[in-house]
């Protein structure tokens, strides 16, 4: 079993395609989450962005994971808008920088790239864990990935750990009052609702793990 195989451009492309699919499938769900504590556009925004990524991938395939991340970054930045656009855009851009032009990514590089992505979101959005944002998915994911990589797990396992932690992180936003983003205007009324950006982050990380699983 090739579970320790490093992940290449094909994986990165597959990840983006799977992300686009899961976002399209959950477009309405994400809109609904955002309608409850935001402005009902998160699913629409991401769907617009990832559809544009698919179009770009139809035109030309990036040669390295870094190039794929950069393509995602530029497309999301220019197509998504709202808070999620610059945040996801920065995340992919930092990940692209972190991996450079490596042809394939091993577990350690993956964990570093995830951390860089998260740091980018924090740099732009200034959110901490507990603020009821996508950071509540990203930070546990980054931690889980780092510890899996340190334990010697292969890339697919690292990403699976990240996705699982992100999913739990998204659930953990339910009881929180928001301190960043639109939901923060609601005060106590945000309690009981799940943060849409945390949910979409977990979906995208799950797509990464599935792409890794499929490539193995």
């Amino acid at each position: 079993m090739a579970n320790n195989a490093a992940l290449d451009a094909a994986w990165a492309i597959d990840w983006l395609r799977r992300s686009a699919a899961v976002v399209a499938e959950n477009r309405v769900h994400l809109i609904e989450l955002d309608r409850a504590i935001g402005d009902a556009d998160h699913g629409e925004n991401l769907d617009r962005g990832f559809s544009a990524i698919l179009e770009k991938l139809d035109a030309e395939l990036p040669a390295t994971p870094g190039a794929a991340f950069k393509l995602a970054a530029m497309t999301l930045m220019s197509k998504v808008g709202g808070a999620a656009g610059p945040l996801y855009g920065t995340a992919y851009l930092r990940a692209a920088t972190a991996v450079g032009d490596a042809a394939s990514l091993d577990s350690a590089t993956l964990a570093t790239a995830l951390a860089a992505a998260r740091d980018g979101v924090v740099a732009r959005g200034k959110a901490a864990v507990g603020d009821k944002t996508m950071i509540d998915a990203w930070t546990p994911a980054v931690d889980a990935a780092a510890s899996a990589a340190a334990d010697g797990a292969g890339p697919a396992v690292v990403l699976d750990a990240a996705a699982t932690a992100a999913e739990a992180g998204a659930v953990s936003t339910d009881p929180l009052v928001a301190h960043k983003g639109r939901a923060s205007y609601l005060g106590e009324r945000a309690i009981g609702h799940r943060d849409p950006g945390a949910v979409s982050s977990a979906m995208i990380l799950r797509a990464a793990a599935q792409a890794a699983e499929a490539s193995s």
Binding site: D39, S78, G81, G82, G85, K180, L186
Partner: protein, 333 residues
């Protein structure tokens, strides 16, 4: 959902195209990336004013492109801030060499996208200053939130800073007066009904037949709290109270009173609110020197209104009165 639209995904493009056709004397529309620019931009020596944000607040911002107000407006998708790839060329097109002021409503998305755009426009040699509008007193504890939202005060900032730019103020001066307006204006809104975002297809929140939402924003996001329906005078008092508590005007202060419709409220009701608000301000010892009543920054077809009070100084009043010639605000020419 019943709306006069075609494809929900094309609402903004088609609407702005129609706007461009109707107001060809004032503006040009750049279809891709989408922005609206004053027909005679850039005007030699004049500081450029660029604003933008999610669509659905019409006439904000495109309706204010023209003499004495904005040089360019960048409409995003409905309730979603536009992206840097549209803000950057709009900024460049609005720049005569005197620099550009970005007027940005304080929402995470708008701030982040305009921030990126400003950085990249500066890299292209455009000097950019940003005026952040955050006049909404409905948001409490701004330390523990994304901060106060930019709402109706934005219209006043755009008018007054626009007049300053038109009379030839330099980049820092235009930004300074924009910030001064923002520092002196407070707003608060109420919704009687929700609005429906075209791509969502269902109303943004639920209100019972006898409930209203106090402290509403302009994105159909829920407000501070729901309360049972009250009469217009009672609601007006509820909106004015936090505005005055925060603005802390002194007796004798001159103010501009702005009653803004959210899109689905008849003008007659706005004037009923204006009537009581004007009397309440006078009773509080203030002098209502200027007024604005109508749908100037909306939330699609939401029923409700916001009240804004701007503490005026002589310069602001003079700039408010200065000629303006845009599709949605026009006087003096």
């Amino acid at each position: 959902m019943k709306k006069l639209i075609n494809d929900p995904k094309k609402v903004v493009d088609e609407s702005v195209e129609g706007f461009g056709l109707a107001h060809a004397a004032h503006v040009k529309v750049n279809p891709d990336p989408l922005f609206v620019i004053r027909k005679d931009a850039p005007r030699a020596g004049k500081v450029g004013l660029v604003s933008g944000g999610g669509s659905g607040h019409e006439p904000l911002h495109a309706g204010y492109v023209g003499y004495g107000m904005l040089d360019a407006a960048v409409p995003g998708p409905v309730f979603t801030s536009p992206t840097p790839d549209a803000i950057i060329p709009a900024t460049i097109a609005a720049n005569s060499g005197a620099g550009v002021v970005h007027i940005v409503k304080n929402y995470t998305g708008d701030v982040l996208n305009f921030e990126t755009a400003a950085e990249m426009a500066e890299a292209e040699g455009v000097e950019v200053r940003t005026v952040l509008v955050n006049d909404d007193v409905a948001v409490e504890d701004s330390l523990y939130t994304a901060g106060r939202r930019g709402v109706a005060g934005t219209v006043l900032v755009e008018k007054i800073a626009g007049a300053a730019a038109e009379r030839g103020d330099n980049l820092d001066a235009v930004a300074a007066i924009g910030n001064r307006v923002n520092a002196n204006v407070r707003s608060m809104g109420v919704a009687l009904s929700a609005c429906t975002v075209p791509h969502a297809g269902v109303p943004s929140f639920e209100l019972a037949e006898d409930e209203i939402e106090i402290g509403i924003g302009i994105h159909g996001e829920p407000g501070r709290h729901k309360i049972p329906m009250e009469n217009a005078d009672g609601i007006t008092d509820r909106l004015l109270e936090p505005i005055l508590a925060d603005l802390k005007p002194a007796s004798g202060d001159k103010v501009l009173l702005f009653v803004n419709g959210m899109g689905g409220t008849p003008a007659s009701e706005l004037y009923i609110v204006y009537r009581h608000a004007a009397k309440a301000l006078e009773a509080a010892g203030l002098v209502v020197e200027r007024s604005l009543v109508g749908n100037y920054i909306t939330a699609l077809e939401m029923q409700g209104c916001s009240i804004s009070v701007l503490r005026l100084d002589d310069e602001m009043t003079e700039l408010w009165d200065a000629p303006v010639n845009t599709p949605a605000l026009r006087w003096g020419m």
